[in-house]
């Protein structure tokens, strides 16, 4: 279970207090990747979460163009500036907690005991330190190339020059780097992108949840696709569990052809080593039959968590009929469409709780995954991946003739929408 059970008076969830997460580690160890992923997940759960990235504050104060020796801990000339930058970030973090924020992530190197002690003294909240450690050169280099060189700091730089400059930055930290070793602290150590992990004094529901999530993260390249179910013989009634219509069957074929072709093209373009494809559907006929044309080695899995939102007593009714029959319910629904539950129905929020285990499994999956599912389910999964706020989930548009391709990266995921050829537009 994950989406919140109940709100407490403070507005914070899970009866957990505020938690400050402090990242620790040399540059290019995946701190930002972890911070951004956590941000996406916790916000999706409804936890008010914010990342405070020290690099952003530095850019605000001194601009993009700084040479590597700016970061040298012994550089007296820049010391006062660096202190100012830290204070700006800390002030924002504290203000965030004072205005009801629950999880604040302080994304910086924080490589010395002294710095971490300083932070602990200033933060009166529970804190968890997350240390990323990496001694594999290839992971570090891939990280520098994919994340750092595309950062505003290196806009317009030659790639090899940028790489070299960044490595100087890392070397600067090396002599001062101290690993966390106080057994009284709450901390997580991640070695080589999760190969080996140590959890110390992790307590409470939300902390355990966060740690479990981190355990499932990986950084290998992959692609996620979304497509709607084909048209069924009874579109009005969920309970009827009707089979595909002739148009639905044609859609299923077009979808398969188009997706396989798209994958072949991408494979050629990127030169990435080939990955397997899995198709995840719901156990409703209109869903799994839309995947029936995929053949070995594509693996099709039916998952009960992906069943359409339960319409309850409103099943088979149009919006006008619902409004006429349940005027009070309708009014409440207008107030909070995400959380409101019609008689015997599920709200989107209930659905999010149900779908959550699939999200963890998706994070862990290294194969590419195509979801063929119902609109409500696709909206929630999309909202998770693209960081869409709760209030906007019901406006997410996923047309029935469209294949959505999502490619994960450290910051915002890249989305491409494609019309499936041969499918009639709505």
């Amino acid at each position: 279970m994950a989406a919140q059970l109940y709100k407490t008076e403070s507005g914070r969830l899970f009866h957990a207090g505020a938690i400050a997460i402090i990242t620790v580690g040399l540059p290019a160890r995946g701190k930002t990747h972890t911070a951004r992923s956590l941000l996406r997940y916790l916000r999706w759960l409804g936890v008010s979460t914010q990342v405070f990235h020290l690099g952003d504050y530095r850019r605000q104060v001194v601009g993009e163009k700084v040479s590597w020796d700016f970061f040298h801990p012994d550089n007296q000339a820049t010391m006062a500036l660096r202190k100012t930058i830290l204070e700006c970030a800390l002030a924002d973090l504290l203000a965030f907690f004072h205005t009801g924020g629950q999880v604040g992530i302080f994304d910086a190197a924080n490589t010395t005991d002294e710095r971490r002690k300083q932070l602990q003294e200033r933060l009166e909240h529970e804190h968890v330190q997350v240390q990323s450690i990496c001694d594999k050169e290839d992971i570090i280099n891939a990280n520098i190339r994919s994340v750092k060189i595309s950062s505003p700091d290196y806009l317009g730089w030659n790639e090899e020059k940028a790489l070299e400059d960044f490595k100087h930055r890392i070397e600067n930290h090396m002599p001062f780097y101290q690993t966390i070793n106080d057994p009284a602290l709450s901390y997580v150590k991640m070695f080589n992108a999760g190969e080996h992990m140590v959890f110390n004094n992790i307590n409470g529901y939300l902390q355990t949840r966060i740690v479990y999530y981190m355990m499932n993260l990986h950084i290998s390249p992959r692609v996620i696709y979304f497509a709607r179910n084909g048209e069924s013989l009874n579109e009005q009634m969920d309970r009827a569990d009707a089979d595909l219509s002739p148009a639905g069957h044609r859609y299923a074929e077009h979808l398969k052809d188009f997706l396989l072709q798209r994958r072949a093209e991408r494979q050629e373009e990127t030169g990435e080593s080939p990955r397997r494809l899995q198709v995840w559907t719901s156990p409703r006929r209109r869903s799994f039959n839309s995947a029936c044309h995929f053949e070995f080695p594509v693996q099709v899995r039916q998952r009960a968590q992906l069943i359409e939102i339960n319409p309850g007593d409103c099943d088979g009714m149009t919006k006008d009929e619902i409004r006429a029959k349940y005027p009070d319910e309708w009014a409440n629904y207008q107030q909070d469409s995400y959380r409101y539950r019609f008689p015997r129905a599920e709200s989107y929020h209930d659905l999010a709780v149900r779908v959550e285990p699939v999200i963890l499994e998706l994070e862990r999956e290294k194969d590419d995954v195509l979801f063929i599912a119902h609109l409500s389910v696709l909206r929630l999964l999309y909202a998770y991946l693209m960081g869409i706020q709760e209030k906007d989930v019901l406006s997410i548009n996923i047309p029935r003739d469209t294949l959505i391709e999502i490619i994960p990266s450290a910051y915002r995921y890249k989305e491409t929408r494609m019309i499936i050829p041969g499918v009639k537009r709505e």
């Binding site: 190969e195 004094n201 479990y212 309970r239 009960a304 008689p343």
Partner: protein, 401 residues
């Protein structure tokens, strides 16, 4: 499993086994101690476990081998995903290499992943408590004076301590639990199932507690013989709701308790008189019977666990949606669940380790409170029947033929 004696290995093995079995993975625990008792008899004193005792050493190796033979034979013949838990001390690197080698060279099954779960306890008090609570009840010490037995068992631990090597081989998949998860170390965890086991272990606790559960009071639909719906309580159901607070108080005393209900009116109404904090769970709502088709009842009896009502749910679906509830239940202390027949059957099956074909026929009568107290090998069950009449909604399993 890895760890010195009396570190809770068997408790963990049993819990993980029950959890996996419940989520649908065939799981069996192979306890080397049982093989040893069978081959050499119980009542072995501590010198049997002395590494310098060649006779004891040989016999213990025989027991380990026999258990491993059975394990490999079993897992090879299981269909689909299966998990075997090898419950023994496995406290040296040499022994762990031997396990890997056996699993690797057993040809019949291509992919056998090996994961080690080590339980470490540095608190002498906790170890002593475990010896008193579990070991002294074991057949090894039947009829022995408890003081003498405790002394002997501590000697047995000493024999293992001299050669104990904690798991730290970087090429192995493992999880180490130190002092009831105050520190957890994981290494090379692969795949979803392994990560679920890790998460499950991170939520376990060993404090004493009780889980109470009860169905809602008799509802109007129960009286009318209907299923589904969201009806209110019958007058007798209301009487039950009024009687509940005293019954709970008599059997719980002044301890803390949290009440969980579904979002359906009959459970909320049943809990309404209870003076404890309450939470509603959508996931505890009754099995959704979907659309009614006449052929449903007949088909459903063929395989009630997997039978999914058209547009509705099967017991299998319910187990899936309850899984997060069970995880939270493991984290909590005293809990009272006011629920529904199908839901409580699934929860009961989890704690009592009942197989799936029996699950849909478990008897959970109305107006009865069930109390489960978790112990090392399972749960101690008590039932409190409230003397208020109610209809019987149980349909027995039809006889074959």
């Amino acid at each position: 499993m890895v760890g010195l004696p009396a570190r809770g290995k068997t408790f963990i093995a049993q819990k993980v086994g029950r959890y996996l079995q419940w989520v649908g993975v065939n799981t069996r625990v192979f306890n080397v101690g049982e093989y040893r008792r069978e081959q050499c008899g119980a009542h072995q004193l501590h010198n049997f476990f002395d590494p310098e005792n060649p006779e004891g050493k040989r016999k213990r190796q025989e027991a380990a081998s026999a258990a491993m033979d059975d394990l490999l034979h079993w897992i090879t013949n299981e269909e689909g995903t299966a998990v075997a838990i090898y419950d023994a001390t496995n406290s040296t690197q040499e022994r762990r290499r031997w396990i890997l080698e056996r699993c690797r060279t057993y040809q019949a099954r291509a992919q056998l992943q090996v994961m080690f779960i080590e339980s470490v306890c540095e608190d002498e008090e906790v170890v002593m408590e475990n010896i008193r609570a579990v070991k002294l009840q074991s057949p090894d010490y039947a009829g022995v004076d408890p003081e003498a037995a405790a002394r002997d068992f501590r000697e047995r631990i000493r024999h293992y301590e001299s050669s104990y090597e904690p798991v730290q081989e970087r090429d192995l998949t493992y999880i180490r639990l130190v002092n009831v998860r105050s520190q957890v170390v994981v290494n090379l965890i692969r795949g979803y199932l392994q990560s679920r086991v890790v998460y499950y272990l991170m939520n376990l606790h060993v404090s004493r507690r009780c889980i109470f559960f009860s169905r809602h009071g008799e509802s109007m639909f129960n009286v009318e013989g209907k299923i589904g719906g969201d009806s209110l309580l019958s007058p007798r159901g209301e009487q039950y709701a009024n009687a509940l607070p005293q019954l709970i108080k008599d059997n719980l005393g002044s301890e803390n308790l949290t009440v969980w209900t579904s979002t359906m009116r009959r459970t909320i109404q049943t809990a309404s008189k209870l003076p404890y904090p309450k939470l509603q769970w959508k996931a505890l709502d009754e099995l959704n019977a979907g659309e009614k088709y006449p052929e449903d009842y007949a088909n459903r009896d063929d395989d009630k666990f997997n039978y999914r009502y058209r547009g509705g749910e099967s017991y299998r679906d319910v187990v899936l949606r309850l899984e997060p509830v069970m995880m939270e239940l493991e984290r909590q202390h005293n809990i009272l669940i006011i629920g529904h027949q199908a839901i409580l059957r699934c929860i009961y099956a989890y704690f009592m380790n009942l197989p799936r074909d029996e699950l849909p026929y478990i008897r959970v009568p109305l107006h009865t409170v069930i109390r489960l107290a978790p112990k090392a090998y399972g749960c101690e069950e008590t039932r409190f029947r409230v003397n208020i009449e109610a209809v019987d909604t149980h349909r027995p399993k039809p006889q074959a033929g």
